[in-house]
């Protein structure tokens, strides 16, 4: 196994960028469309569920032992996420930033960043997220410019959640937690395999939840429900409506912040896939180049509004399986195996 370690802070920053990455501009519309004024409540409920899942992962991660087939399954899942994300990023950039530039150029340039990072030493992928820390602050500052335009009555009525809202809301909220299984992959590498306290996990989940809930609330209070139904990327429109003295298009700046964020999440997903590959075979430059070439070609077949939407919907089901059920199943299998070994 490759020799590298990471600290708690690195683990949680890695997870935060992985989970927020590409999805943080679209999750608000999805959740609000499904659960309306109750969206933020449902988000908190789903977040609590994922906190429980993280706690389980943390407690039993030692039993998460993947065989070769399972490792390939996870790799395929992560590379599929990357392909879907790249298609989505290009779709958004085409709409908001530069409609003239061919998709293959935009995607190739983004993939080159990932290729360079993944051909570099492990420390690069583990630390690259640090560049986004100031961007998180800038994004929240940009968002806060809309505070004066918020209509607080848009929040009401809330609390009465019917079953349809629960089912749809929970389904759409899952979208924000794609990549949670990375915790299990990275956890064994946390420095000296030391104990990770529940308090640390809860704090991480609180920060992640606050980040999403704040954006959901801003969108909910800024637009009416009818507007949200017809606006696909509400955060973008919210920022486009802001005027500051020296900038006419705040959204354009945000687009590039989001793009950086997304490309880094692509780097992280590729890192996860390649690090699993390296556990089966040795580190291979040829395979790293090949898989990057593949993920730069495949998104070109997905860049239409319908396909982008469909592929994102499918990702949620992927999360149900690879993020929740499959890890629990593998840990259970590992636990039983260890029991058998103890008896022997």
């Amino acid at each position: 196994m490759t020799k590298w370690t990471l600290s708690n802070k690195q683990l949680f920053l890695f997870l935060f960028i992985l989970q927020t990455g590409t999805v943080f501009i679209s999750v608000q519309s999805r959740v609000i469309k499904a659960a309306e004024q109750n969206s933020w409540l449902i988000f908190i409920a789903v977040s609590l569920f994922h906190l429980f899942i993280l706690h389980i992962f943390n407690k039993y991660y030692k039993y998460f032992q993947l065989n070769k087939f399972e490792k390939w399954l996870y790799q395929i899942y992560w590379y599929t996420i990357v392909v879907t994300f790249l298609a989505y990023i290009d779709f958004i950039l085409e709409v908001w930033a530069f409609p003239q530039t061919p998709a293959y150029i935009v995607i190739s340039l983004m993939v080159i960043v990932s290729l360079y990072a993944n051909l570099s030493k492990y420390a690069v992928a583990l630390n690259i997220s640090v560049i986004l820390i100031p961007f998180i602050v800038i994004f929240l500052a940009m968002l806060s410019l809309a505070t004066k335009d918020l209509i607080w009555t848009n929040l009401f009525p809330f609390g009465q959640i019917d079953s349809k809202q629960w089912i749809d809301g929970v389904g759409q909220t899952m979208y924000a937690f794609i990549g949670i299984e990375a915790f299990l992959i990275l956890r064994p590498f946390v420095e000296d395999k030391k104990e990770l306290k529940f308090r640390s996990i809860a704090l991480y989940q609180l920060i992640l939840t606050l980040f999403f809930v704040i954006t959901i609330l801003y969108v909910l209070l800024f637009f009416s429900l009818e507007e949200i139904k017809i606006i696909p990327v509400t955060i973008m429109y919210l920022l486009k409506s802001q005027e500051i003295t020296f900038l006419q298009r705040l959204d354009l700046f945000f687009t590039y912040i989001w793009m950086t964020w997304s490309v880094i999440s692509v780097v992280l997903f590729m890192f996860l896939g390649l690090s699993l590959y390296k556990t089966m075979y040795t580190r291979s430059i040829k395979f790293t180049v090949f898989i990057h070439f593949l993920v730069s070609i495949l998104p070109l077949f997905l860049i239409t509004r319908e396909l982008v939407k469909k592929s994102h919907d499918i990702l949620m089901y992927g999360h149900y399986f690879f993020g929740l059920l499959f890890p629990l199943f593998i840990m259970l299998k590992g636990w039983r195996k260890s029991l058998r070994e103890k008896k022997v």
Binding site: S7, F98, L109, K121, A123, L247, Q248, F253, Y256, T260
Partner: protein, 474 residues
């Protein structure tokens, strides 16, 4: 044993073409001895005095007649003989007993320590390193009166026999980095080492990186501050530049002025310098991206002004920018090569007259002149010549990317640059520390000049930075 004939042959072969080489046969107590030296590299009076002392002891029949405070007795070898003569020592050869005595008093030409021209400070010492290793060590010892100060000498270069000294504080030094440095010094296989720049090529972690991995300084106060920080100083003889490592990117943005001035003032200028890093690299690229792709980003009034300014320019913004940037580089090169009064005149002529004429001729817009001039100013703010040239070089690829892809190109370029910086190391130590690995508690020392010079050891690897890790390294 080497015969008298062999010695004479060796002298004839190797030194007969040097007019300043002197070889004289003397007779001391009926024994023939040969006195050799370069007349241009000794102080005759001082050497004569030493010679007389040795002769007196020899004639008195003392056992260790060659051992004095400034001389050394040893077995004769052609190799050592050659080296000593080339180092400016005076050698007395005793063919009968196969011995030689080296009088270790070479006279090396050196100027007086004066303020380095490329590292001016407002307050603080105005002495600087010179082309003499002894003087440089003297300047360091003057400021750092500590017995911990260790100086190791290595001889490198088969032909040049260059003395390279590594200086460090035994109680502070990063031992792993020291080991790496020594190993790299031992690996050098070169005929000639004649400058610190050449030495830097052999010692750097990534030679093709645009970023310097050693801090160059001619200031003793800067060198001493780094020694106290646990860094290692490398001197090559006859070069006034001290190479300091391991360093981080942020070391280049620290100036001795920060610590000589007031806390708030020092912190303010540190921030200005750090902002200049981004301005110098990104400003022209940003302007090109806005003018070429993203006009709509500007408020309408400003946008109209910019449009009217660039409307009649016959070139694309990238060519306009390249024209002005190259002009600035020409002015800079010209002003460096010329004596300072003429250099200043060139600056004025280039900056004002040509700049104004270019705008009047409609070859570049007013705004582009402002952008390029601001960029040049920002790049000169860096208190390190190496980083200054790096920053100036880096803006060109960003300008090209901005002209091809707008902000997208700048973002992609920035990410590639960031990954490169993440990969970079100085003597195997992270170059972006304390940003990478992320150590929030140490970050304030990058941006602010703290009220006292607190020594924070540089992070020594990419992975371990828990409390346990810190303790282990501290």
């Amino acid at each position: 044993m080497v015969s008298y004939k062999e010695i004479v042959e060796s002298l004839e072969n190797e030194f007969s073409q040097a007019f300043d080489f002197i070889a004289k046969e003397l007779v001391w107590n009926e024994e023939h001895v040969i006195l050799c030296y370069y007349s241009t590299m000794i102080d005759t009076a001082v050497v004569m005095e030493q010679l007389q002392t040795i002769q007196r002891k020899f004639e008195a029949g003392e056992a260790e007649y060659g051992q004095t405070a400034f001389s050394e007795e040893m077995t004769f070898t052609i190799k050592q003989f050659r080296e000593s003569i080339c180092n400016g020592e005076t050698v007395i050869v005793f063919p009968k007993t196969d011995k030689m005595i080296r009088i270790l008093l070479p006279k090396i030409a050196s100027r007086e320590p004066s303020s380095p021209e490329n590292e001016y400070v407002v307050r603080g010492g105005h002495d600087g390193f010179v082309e003499n290793l002894d003087v440089n060590i003297n300047l360091i010892r003057k400021k750092l009166k500590s017995p911990d100060l260790k100086i190791e000498k290595h001889t490198i270069g088969a032909k040049s026999n260059t003395t390279v000294s590594i200086i460090y504080l035994t109680t502070k030094v990063d031992n792993e980095a020291l080991k790496v440095l020594k190993a790299r010094l031992d690996r050098i296989e070169a005929e000639m080492i004649y400058s610190s720049g050449q030495l830097e090529d052999y010692l750097e972690d990534v030679i093709w990186s645009p970023f310097p991995q050693f801090l160059n300084t001619e200031r003793p106060d800067r060198a001493v501050a780094n020694l106290v920080d646990g860094k290692i100083i490398i001197f090559s003889d006859s070069d006034p530049t001290a190479l300091i490592g391991p360093i981080t990117l942020f070391t280049f943005y620290e100036s001795p002025d920060d610590f000589n001035g007031r806390v708030l003032v020092g912190s303010f200028y540190r921030l200005v310098r750090l902002a200049s890093f981004f301005t110098a690299i990104f400003l022209p690229a940003f302007y090109i991206a806005v003018v070429s792709f993203h006009f709509e980003i500007m408020p309408i009034d400003l946008g109209e002004q910019v449009k009217s300014s660039v409307a009649n320019i016959p070139f694309r913004p990238i060519f306009e920018a390249l024209l002005l940037e190259l002009l600035i580089e020409l002015i800079r090169e010209a002003s460096i090569r010329l004596p300072s009064p003429i250099g200043q005149t060139i600056g004025v002529v280039g900056g004002l007259v040509i700049g104004d004429a270019i705008v009047a001729a409609g070859l570049a817009s007013n705004l582009m002149v402002i952008v390029v001039a601001s960029t040049a100013l920002a790049s000169f703010v860096v208190p390190s010549v190496e980083m200054n040239t790096t920053v100036r070089l880096l803006r060109f690829p960003f300008m090209v990317l901005a002209s091809m892809f707008g902000f997208f190109g700048i973002v992609i370029g920035s990410m590639l640059l960031f990954i490169h910086l993440l990969n970079l190391q100085s003597l195997n130590r992270p170059y972006l520390s304390p940003i990478i690995p992320f150590e929030p508690t140490k970050i304030k020392s990058i941006f602010f000049r703290l009220p006292y010079y607190k020594q924070v050891p540089q992070q020594r690897n990419f992975y371990l930075f828990s409390k346990k890790g810190k303790k282990k390294h501290d």
